[in-house]
Homo-oligomer: 165 residues x 3
């Protein structure tokens, strides 16, 4: 826990001290309750696990399916609108910003959400869709749509705004 | 209602059974209350209707103007950040994902939001803006901005992310 | 306050009267509490200020850092998912739509969020990132990513959706 909080202070310049993070970081609350719900889901208390994450979503605006597999020290910063789908897998030390989705493409059963390696940054509003693999140390820019596999150490961005008038 | 729940199980692979959907699907809650608020709005109880949808937004993170016209079996999946504006019209069997907006372009009065046909899929984060028409069986990709009419059976997408480093 | 409410009726065709705006406009609530929290933050009651904005975020889905500097008559319309970072500066008469972010690029300390002039429109889902300057009377389209300075009176947009099938 101590390592986690220290890693957040390192990743978020607006973080001031442990108490502030524990009290006021919805991404920390969401991941904490996800850990409990994930355990309950695995011992087949699925409806209870889903109920916990339903209420976590109401208060944090972050939706994490209790069946998702999430590594150590995931930091969801700001977090409003984040959706992490059922068959998502996330490695260690990832950072996900507000409005990002790890989602499906609306078809298929079984594995239909992305697998992320370690130390990945998913920018605000980015949508990573389908049963694809994102390598370690990848950065994904704000509002970027990712539909294919990405190798390690890459940076993926969409299109910047341009002047039209 | 039975048909509606069955259609959701067909559309969402993460849906397990009716009880789970009724309890934990904010998009189902939001559309349910919208039906009540829409009735109240039409009999001129506007402030009451708006008050209901205000609280629905607080708990579901889905904003539907009570004056919007919505067809049968609309499924708002995940739903955080969805905004459906006052003069929007939505046909039957549409699916709208989190972060999508049916909105205006910030000018004009009267009809200023889109009209959607039947069986449309609006991807996560998509913004459909202005008094435009979207034909039936259209699919709109994640984060896509749509400002013009779209014919039936089309698929509209924005730009996928590209590698820059 | 009277001028503020009048300016909202001018900017939002769905606004009907003062009572409706005061009761049901989360963007009005969020800015109101921000004014209090900003005062408390400046007299070093930082944890209290952050606590107020934490709860404002829970109920309005709008996140404004209490240290941000915001001019007169900011109107946050709809507002779900809006994030305004710690070192942001916003001029007078700006309008910000749902899902927009004034954020950082995930590195650096000190000034790391944008500075906006007067009378700016930030479209739904737009992401303005980094310690950049946006001139007065600028319009930024929906889902646009802005990473560079913008001169006065410009319109900046991303890419519209195109037909692929």
């Amino acid at each position: 826990m101590f390592t986690y909080l220290k890693s957040i202070i390192k990743r978020d310049p607006a973080a001031r001290h442990f108490l502030q993070i524990l009290l006021f970081y919805p991404g920390v609350h969401a991941v904490f309750y996800y850990r409990i719900a994930h355990f309950l889901y695995n011992i087949k208390l699925k409806l209870l696990a889903e109920g916990i994450m339903f209420w976590v979503r109401v208060f944090t605006h972050i939706e994490i399916h209790p069946a998702a597999k999430i590594g150590k020290r995931l930091f969801i910063d700001h977090g409003s609108g984040v959706v992490i789908g059922e068959t998502s897998v996330i490695g260690d030390d990832c950072t996900i910003y507000q409005g990002a989705t790890l989602g499906g493409v609306g078809k298929g059963h079984g594995k239909r959400h992305p697998t992320l390696g370690n130390n990945i940054m998913v920018g605000a509003g980015a949508k990573i869709l389908g049963p694809i693999s994102i390598g370690s140390n990848v950065k994904i820019g704000a509002n970027t749509v990712v539909l294919h596999n990405v190798y390690d150490n890459k940076t993926i961005v969409g299109v910047k705004g341009r002047e039209v008038a």
